[in-house]
């Protein structure tokens, strides 16, 4: 029996110590907003916050998580999608299929916590999650919007009607 602090609640979990945190969250805790995409820390669909740092939960074993570690999943990021990242994502209609978006949002929220006014380069370096629908342009714009610093060159796509 392991104890986990997820979204401010302490949960008792009955799983093998080598179970990835991702599958503990999904199958034992029952929070399915955190997604499986690759299992090898490549795609970032499983991103959660552990003590404020964004981590790829598919590659962290349950046995390596301490009961005092504070884990936040997409479900615990904010009440009613009130986080600035979620608001910006909504305003710019960022998601397409949506499957990778929990991870993208968690990565963006962690970036802004450390770097409230990120440059494009900061965003390039921090936002390494894969999106197969390819919504990267809107992610960049939404991170800037969330930071309250949308600039001319990073506004949403220039759309023209000829």
């Amino acid at each position: 029996m392991a104890k986990l602090n997820i979204n401010g609640k302490v949960r008792d979990v009955q799983a093998e110590a080598d179970t990835p945190l991702l599958w503990v969250i999904r199958e034992h805790v029952g929070l399915t907003g955190t997604k499986y995409g690759c299992g090898v820390a490549q795609c970032g669909a499983c991103s959660v916050h552990i003590n404020g740092e964004v981590q790829r939960s598919c590659s962290i074993h349950l046995g390596d998580v301490k009961p005092t570690d504070k884990i936040v999943t997409i479900e615990g990021l904010s009440a009613k999608s009130a986080h600035p990242v979620q608001k910006a994502w909504l305003a710019l209609d960022v998601p397409q299929c949506g499957y990778c978006q929990s991870g993208q949002i968690m990565a963006a929220a962690a970036l802004l916590k450390k770097t409230p006014k990120p440059t494009d380069q900061d965003i390039d370096e921090a936002m390494t999650n894969i999106c197969r629908c390819g919504v990267y342009q809107r992610i960049r714009a939404a991170v800037h919007m969330a930071a309250g610093m949308a600039t001319g060159s990073n506004a949403p796509a220039n759309r023209k009607r000829a």
Partner: protein, 730 residues
């Protein structure tokens, strides 16, 4: 090379439903589903005015959606079209997805459900608009009847009905029950609005399906939870056509949560456990011996040789000719030749293949991410043996589709086979990413030999296109190949206008297809064969233009006099892409145009290549004429996404074959472009309001050739094989 094709047998039942769903044989036909009579049922979902529209007492309009949503925005677009004709309050619109069982039970009242080929909106726009209009007419009639005034005196705006003369108003919610009892109007009597007068359609409305993608609450099929559910992991023989020889279940005995091992058909082994992770871990620990069969000797090298032979062999599998291209090219003032190749590509949807299935003696149910819910239903019935009428598929919006989850439904067949071993127990089958990459229906591999003749003035007078490669129809739909001819592999090179017409007229032209199949399964991949063919044509036209010493755009324009729509889009891309204008030092442009899915696309790419040969794509100007534009912001979203999809293929995409199996099995080797590499995308919509073209796929095919042509401009060397990660640029 002889190849063994282990094509899955298409059952008659699956074929009947599947082909009907694909708009083929229509063994199960349907009347034009503009607005069949309502069942007059009043439920929590409102009063059904007709099949497309239900209205709740609080004036909420529930719009029914038959097509699948996989991110492309079809739900929003279809709702906009219905709402436009319905004249309802857009802020009070919600949507409801029709299940295929319900559609079948209603004699396919909602028509086709399959969502592929960029058809989601363009092939249902007419009847869903008529459905919205018919509902509006009935609601207005009901109000007029209640007020005892002629319906012609009644008007509506945003769901509020007004009789101006008597200053009376009512709302859709109040008259819906009476409206549902009226006889629907004759569809021929319905006059649809001129799209130029649209107020809801044609506007950049926010998507209706974003909120639950932001907080983790959206339930994808992979997230389904059911009472007593068990989970399954599966491993299919890594060599296509191979079989399971044996496995040793005793080696995983006593592992926590494991129920048992199930052999799935001849070729796969699944482990069922209480959680998926336990099933997957046990499967990895299970010793399996494969009978790999004769295909284990195949490799990328043997396949490349097989295709190369097709570049010069007698070609019998389709094409067309005008004039005398071979003689013209042989006698031309200048001759240009090149051979191109493109690899197998995987779809790699972010949500891996999965399906949850429950089978009991007289009922079968499936929870599935599907692009073709009726094909899922057919697969469920076929594999379970339960009659169609006792089957139901609960479709979940897909975590990516891109053509992978259409007609084949292989993962549903597998899930049913496992679930049959556990009667009454829901079984959730999830593939690992590695299984997904090893058992896709890949974008077909091909090569192309191009020859051109230029006259003394540098005009293109002869062109010979020889495509050699694998056929999607040969794998998935052999009935579509008539007399050995398979024009689908020549998508985008057609003489016929309307869908995928070549935008160039060449006085002496030969287009030929030599079908060279392999043992690797192939299928439609977002943009399908336009992707490869656009690379071949547009990169070679660039080579010819340079050989002629002409400007890339001018050279193309000279061939496009009879193709005004292609030309208009090329011109729009050139103009908005600043063609001919100065660039920063080291930055170069390339252009491409092509047609697919009834729409016209063109792109201008701006790239730089460093002294070390490192490529940077700075800017992509993407022009599109899809005829009518239902939601310009969502069209732009598709165009932006198509750039990422196309660039990923250009930069990294390949699925090598060694010992008969795929070797790139996860994102560490099958790389996907990340945000840092995303160029600035500018979408230029050129709406002609003259036709209904597709949106999800058409623009992908111009991404790669425009970038390759910009690289050519930067380095002076053409790129003829993909992906770029293997090409030394300087």
């Amino acid at each position: 090379m002889t190849c063994i094709i282990s094509n899955a047998k298409v059952s008659r039942r699956a074929f009947v439903v599947g082909s009907a769903a694909a708009g083929g044989g229509l063994a199960l036909g349907f009347d034009l589903p503009f607005g069949a009579p309502a069942s007059a049922e009043s439920t929590a979902l409102g009063t059904e005015v007709n099949i497309w529209v239900a209205v709740k007492p609080d004036d909420t309009c529930v719009i029914r959606i038959a097509r699948s949503e996989m991110g492309q925005g079809t739900i929003t677009g279809l709702a906009q079209l219905v709402a436009e004709e319905l004249e309802c309050d857009w802020s009070k619109v919600t949507t409801e997805q029709i299940t295929p069982g319900r559609n079948l039970a209603s004699k396919r009242a909602w028509g086709e459900m399959g969502t592929g080929g960029s058809r989601g909106i363009r092939t249902s726009q007419d009847y869903v608009r008529r459905g919205g209009a018919a509902a509006r007419m009935m609601l207005l009639q009901a109000a007029a009847d209640a007020w005892k005034v002629p319906v012609g005196e009644v008007t509506v705006a945003e769901g509020i009905i007004t009789h101006a003369a008597t200053q009376r108003t009512t709302s859709y919610g109040k008259v819906a029950a009476a409206a549902a009892k009226l006889t629907p109007p004759d569809p021929k009597s319905i006059a649809l609005k001129d799209p130029k007068s649209w107020k809801i359609a044609g506007k950049p409305m926010k998507r209706v399906d974003t909120a639950n993608k932001l907080d983790g609450s959206k339930v994808f099929a992979i997230d389904v939870k059911l009472p007593d559910m068990l989970c399954a992991a599966i491993k299919d023989c890594p060599v296509y056509g191979g079989k399971v020889a044996s496995y040793d279940e005793s080696k995983i005995a006593g592992r926590p949560g494991v129920e048992r091992v199930v052999k799935v058909k001849d070729s796969a082994v699944a482990v069922v456990a209480d959680t998926w992770w336990r099933a997957k871990s046990a499967l990895e620990a299970l010793p399996i011996v494969w009978d790999e069969g004769p295909n284990a000797t195949r490799s990328s090298a043997t396949i490349a040789e097989h295709l190369k032979e097709g570049l010069t062999a007698v070609a019998t599998n389709g094409g067309r000719q005008n004039g005398d291209p071979l003689k013209t090219i042989a006698e031309a003032a200048k001759k240009v030749e090149a051979v191109y190749s493109t690899p197998f590509l995987a779809h790699a949807t972010m949500e891996p293949m999965n399906a949850t299935v429950r089978v009991s003696a007289d009922r079968a149910e499936a929870w599935v991410p599907t692009q073709n819910a009726e094909a899922s239903l057919a697969a469920l019935s076929e594999a379970s043996g339960v009659p169609l009428a006792n089957c139901e598929v609960y479709r979940h919006d897909l975590g990516g589709g891109f053509g992978r989850r259409g007609g084949t439904q292989d993962y549903v067949h597998q899930a049913v086979a496992i679930a049959k071993e556990f009667p009454g127990i829901p079984i959730k089958l999830i593939w690992t990413r590695e299984e997904d990459m090893a058992h896709d229906f890949y974008r077909p591999i091909s090569q192309c030999r191009m020859s051109a003749g230029l006259d003394a003035d540098g005009n293109l007078v002869g062109l010979h296109v020889r495509v050699s490669g694998q056929s999607i129809n040969a794998w998935l739909n052999p009935a579509a190949i008539k007399d050995g001819k398979d024009e689908r592999q020549l998508q985008g090179l057609s003489e016929q206008p309307g869908d995928a017409q070549l935008g160039y007229d060449v006085p002496n032209l030969a287009i030929e297809y030599a079908m060279r199949n392999t043992h690797v399964p192939v299928g439609p991949w977002r943009g399908v064969n336009t992707n490869q063919n656009a690379v071949y044509v547009e990169c070679f036209i660039e080579e010819a233009a340079r050989a002629a010493g002409k400007d890339s755009v001018e050279f193309r324009r000279a061939l496009m006099k009879n193709h005004p729509r292609h030309l208009a889009v090329l011109n729009a891309a050139a103009e908005k892409g600043d063609w001919g204008k100065p660039l920063p030092a080291g930055v170069h442009r390339g252009i491409a145009q092509f047609m697919g899915y009834g729409s016209y696309s063109a792109a201008v790419a701006e790239v730089s290549v460093s002294e070390q040969g490192k490529l940077k794509v700075h800017r992509m100007v993407m022009a599109l004429d899809c005829g009518h534009v239902v939601n310009p912001d969502q069209v732009a979203a598709q165009v932006e996404g198509s750039v990422a999809f196309g660039l990923t293929a250009a930069l990294y995409g390949e699925c090598p074959v060694e010992n008969g199996r795929m070797t790139s099995l996860n994102f560490d080797t099958y790389e996907i472009m990340r945000l840092a590499e995303m160029p600035k995308v500018e979408t230029v919509l050129v709406p002609s309001y003259e036709f209904w073209g597709g949106v999800g796929e058409p623009t992908i095919c111009v991404v790669t050739p425009s970038v390759l042509n910009a690289i050519f401009a930067a380095t002076g060397k053409p790129v003829r094989s993909l992906p770029l990660k293997h090409v030394k640029l300087v």
